[in-house]
Symmetry: none
Subunit: 220 residues, 2 copies
């Protein structure tokens, strides 16, 4: 931030979407996209080599997801500024992302101005949340319903996400670089915290809460 231009790292697994970010951001003076990543691991690597002023990060990506990538980057650089930009209009995801260390959460349905506004806010040190998510959060606060995102720690939420994505315990263990035993323990703990007795109930609860969307069922 000491230079005239703020450097930005884009993270999204859809190249045409990255093209969209680029196009919008390039119209803004003082912003420069210096790197792009297509998954969380690459994002982490590039962050370390480029140390950009800002990361714009999608959440649903192959391998380690966006939440985990946020966590890792923030672990490496506690001052990292990360703006999550995603299709999920779900308060739970927003809560998780912010808890993991993101400084902003904007949905892809937002107009370009909202993204630009959020980018500037985060660069200025503020926390940026798009209006629709603000509203979602307000609603969930009113209804007082405790969601998965509420009771689960970021790590637990990440494991839940991977479980729902049809990964085996071993695959998740490898993805997260922990022992399968830890994943099994977390799996059990998650079910306990959410008050479900079986994986079937777990999936249904996730569907109800929008953690797993039914259109997401494809990727086998």
């Amino acid at each position: 931030m000491s230079t005239a231009e703020a450097t930005i790292l884009l993270v999204d697994d859809h190249s045409v979407v990255r093209e969209g970010y680029r196009s919008v951001l390039q119209k803004q003076p003082g912003l420069r996209v210096v790197a792009e990543a297509a998954d969380g691991a690459e994002a982490y690597r590039l962050y370390k080599s480029e140390t950009p002023d800002l990361v714009i990060m999608d959440l649903s990506m192959p391998g380690i997801g966006g939440i985990e990538a946020v966590r890792r980057i923030r672990q490496w650089d506690k001052a990292a500024r990360i703006l999550v930009f995603t299709m999920h209009e779900n308060a739970g995801f927003a809560v998780q992302a912010i808890r993991a260390g993101a400084r902003g959460y904007v949905t892809k349905t937002s107009p370009p101005e909202t993204l630009v506004r959020a980018v500037k806010d985060v660069l200025a040190g503020k926390i940026a949340i798009s209006p629709d998510i603000d509203h979602e959060l307000a609603l969930s606060r009113i209804s007082g319903e405790s969601s998965a995102a509420d009771v689960l720690t970021p790590r637990e939420f990440e494991v839940l996400r991977l479980l729902l994505a049809e990964n085996t315990t071993e695959e998740i263990a490898e993805t997260l670089h922990v022992s399968p035993k830890t994943v099994a323990n977390l799996h059990s703990l998650i079910k306990d915290k959410l008050g479900v007795g079986s994986d079937i109930e777990l999936v249904r609860l996730a569907l109800r809460q929008g953690i797993l969307t039914e259109v997401d069922l494809g990727e086998a």
Copy 2:
């Protein structure tokens, strides 16, 4: 197609994503984006007023989805050329889209060149499918996902339904007047027959095949 430039209608509910399409397509001579829509209904209206040479359409959108929009447009103009461009890397969606009248199906993970290639192919009258979906289709053709209703015996199917309804093994055993052991055996056999390794996969497969509908999720 009689003019020098081919006119294009973009349909996607994420404005920044539309910006991405635009950016990629503008680099191609002979293509011109003449309109944008953010949902299926708007796409239908705009198609009728603009009658573009090509529609590039997302699938997951608010209101009437992409498939339905394809159907309506094709109903109004049987010669309409529609290229589906979506995040869903799922053979089922592709089949649905093509059956509805789309002339192409490209995933958003594809590089820009693939999109451009597909646009030109569809404009030239060909059917364009991105390689990853080709592969998915081939796989489903080779070791096609067994349809539950097909390979399961009536008893097995009944147990599956009860399992999906969040019953415990003991409850099902009592309902069916058999030993819990039998239910457990059937549960295992069902997973084996359907080729899934976990209950999570089982639920997802059931959702894909419509055995469990999400309206069923309401009860708490």
